[in-house]
Symmetry: C2
């Protein structure tokens, strides 16, 4: 007898067979006495297809029209899911962004939700209706369609859950939950029962593609209990909570990695104030996102500054540095676009020393050279050569005893 938001991603609605499976699942929830709001993404591949059409028309398609174009994908899937629910005897009705009154700011292709009409949803639910809401899309104050960026349907689901004060927001995906590491790399990777939202936020933003990171922010802000679970298999999935400590008391909850990274180093720049901004300013102006930044102070009054960017931005970043190098008085510029980042995440490490040491020891045992290190309260990241990525993840998974055979109550 719960009030639930159930969100189904693209692979969960990729064809009519899968849409029928989604409808079976929702109809069973409703039959159990739950009140359910369904949120649906576009059928898998559809957003790519539409985006491709846009880029065929214009090399830089105007973002307002891209939002009109892309949002049609969710329009198709909500109609089909609503039909499939009605076919199963549910009273269902599809709702697009403008109908569900999902009000956003004016930023096309990366809009933020400002308000959702909870009253309307409550009225529908009270009348026995199962609303099927299009993810990823809203409407701005001018009545234009806006979208939230890739993965934005998660944000729709969590925002709706917050607005209607749902008991749980269930994100159905093609995985069984959140794992201690990528199961394709680590054989004994284990599904986590519970994870804090800070941990999930780090895992999502670090490339564990289970959840859109903005949706996790909503969890933190509004305290919506979130559950990631499989639309293909039954199982409890992983619960994301705002509880400070997970019940499992792990030091490290999970490992994540990002493969498509590149690093750039400006060599021998004068070690004076303002030099970092002279280097990173033009990079930011070119809309290149910088991730890790490391600076070593040299003995001779000069320093090396290294930072990482997405691999797709590497060549462009290199050109920019070559352009500003002369005015900086730098000795040279070098780079490497075959690096990867591996990170350990866990709220437990806040209060435990020795996590970094254990991690570095594990990598050293495998003779993996650490090129860069970055730490935060609940995360340690290292950059290694890309060819060592899988080896590094497996070594760390063993070192932190995250596998299925490990005790879940270790207290070292």
């Amino acid at each position: 007898m719960a009030l639930l938001v159930q969100k189904f991603g693209g692979t969960s609605v990729r064809d009519i067979g899968r849409i029928n499976a989604v409808a079976d699942r929702v109809a069973a929830s409703v039959a159990d006495g739950n009140r359910v709001v369904v949120v649906v993404s576009a059928m898998a591949g559809e957003t790519d297809r539409l985006e491709g059409l846009g880029f065929e028309v214009a090399p830089r398609p105007p973002s307002r029209e891209m939002d009109v174009l892309l949002s049609s994908g969710e329009q198709v899937s909500v109609a089909l899911v609503a039909m499939a629910l009605m076919e199963r005897g549910c009273t269902a009705r599809s709702g697009l962004g403008f109908q569900a009154r999902i009000r956003t700011d004016g930023n096309h292709m990366r809009a933020r939700i400002e308000e959702i009409d909870a009253e309307r949803l409550h009225a529908d639910l009270d009348s026995g209706m199962t609303p099927v809401i299009a993810g990823f899309q809203g409407i701005n104050s001018r009545g234009d369609i806006t979208t939230f960026g890739r993965g934005g349907s998660d944000t729709t689901a969590v925002a709706i859950a917050a607005a209607i004060n749902a008991d749980e927001c269930q994100i159905y995906t093609d995985v069984d939950g959140v794992f201690t590491a990528d199961p394709r790399i680590v054989e004994d990777a284990r599904r986590l029962d519970v994870l804090t939202f800070e941990e999930m936020l780090e895992l999502a933003s670090l490339g564990a593609k289970v959840l859109h990171s903005r949706s996790v922010e909503f969890v933190g802000k509004y305290g919506v209990p979130l559950r990631v679970l499989s639309s293909f298999n039954d199982g409890p999935g992983t619960l994301i909570t705002t509880e400070e400590r997970s019940m499992e008391q792990l030091i490290v909850s999970g490992l994540t990695y990002q493969r498509d990274e590149a690093k750039l180093t400006v060599l021998g720049v004068p070690d004076v104030p303002g030099v970092a901004s002279k280097i990173l300013g033009p990079i930011g102006e070119a809309d290149i996102e910088v991730d890790m930044i490391v600076q070593n102070t040299g003995a001779d009054g000069s320093t090396d500054l290294t930072f990482t960017v997405r691999r797709a931005d590497y060549e462009r970043a290199l050109e920019i540095l070559d352009g500003v190098r002369g005015s900086l008085g730098a000795r040279g510029v070098e780079g490497d676009d075959h690096i990867a980042k591996v990170s350990a995440v866990g709220v437990g490490m806040k209060s435990h020393a020795g996590v970094a040491k254990r991690m570095f020891d594990a990598l050293a045992r495998e003779n993996i050279n650490i090129q860069m290190i970055s730490t935060s309260e609940i995360k340690i990241s290292v950059v290694v050569a890309e060819r060592y990525l899988e080896l590094a993840v497996r070594a760390m998974h063993d070192a932190f005893e995250l596998g299925t055979d490990a005790s879940t109550e270790e207290t070292w």
Copy 2:
């Protein structure tokens, strides 16, 4: 310096190459100093694909959701056309049914337009904008998406032209205009320069698929000058006017035909009042459309009643008649689902006797048996065996001297 509505059908926007050609054409119109509202259909094949998905989910998909599903097709094409226009330096903006405030009644899948927000379109045009409006879709008073049935984008275009008092509504298609007969059947079929809207209405409703018949009704009601022309070739097309007489002064303007017809005859029913409604009542209740009806009075106090239906409804109609036959005291039921209807249309025939005779003579010369005859003020239709269809059309085309070699000023 005209105010124009330019409507492009599915084949005119079937791929990005064609969309670019549409944008070239509109941009040229705007560059010539015209103010243009563009109306676009879904890319060719898209509505069929979406409809197919709906029927895969539910054998009788709910019409509200079908409208959500199908209207996504136009959403894609308006976005792409607007992008292509902006790529050519035009200030363009796509508008969906809810944004252009195309208010309709509540009938899903065959809604009628009640109101269009002309002020908003005028404001956009005055600001130098070229609005690109989605055809086929509107919104009802509850905020639900409605659609107008196949060919409904023509209706959108004509309704907008009426609302903004456009100088001309141009319907771009894959043909060069309206022809005296189907050029695939009649080699020397001729493009008509001008046609009255009553003639066009008969031609459209009789199966000449150039225009949606409801859009032609708008022409009559609001006096919007309508022009049918090719988006592939240059040329003047055919102007549809409300002028009573076309400048060409033809007796018969054009021939049309319907191939997928069937006829049913109830034999030997008592010739008493009410018998026709006892036969046709159950047919109408089964949502089977009846076209022609003929009744012959017999000498023995009984009569035969014959009517035609779409071929797809033939078997069902036959079953219904078999069911009611006993209670009618009829001698029997027979039918033929290999017939076709051929019609001659022209405002000129109102004031000319002898049109029917010329038509029947032409068919007799070819030994084509006429199975049924039906006439109206500006139309004569005959039913013949389907195998004679092409022969009948060609014979009539010659008889009425409609071909390219014929004088356009005959006065017989």
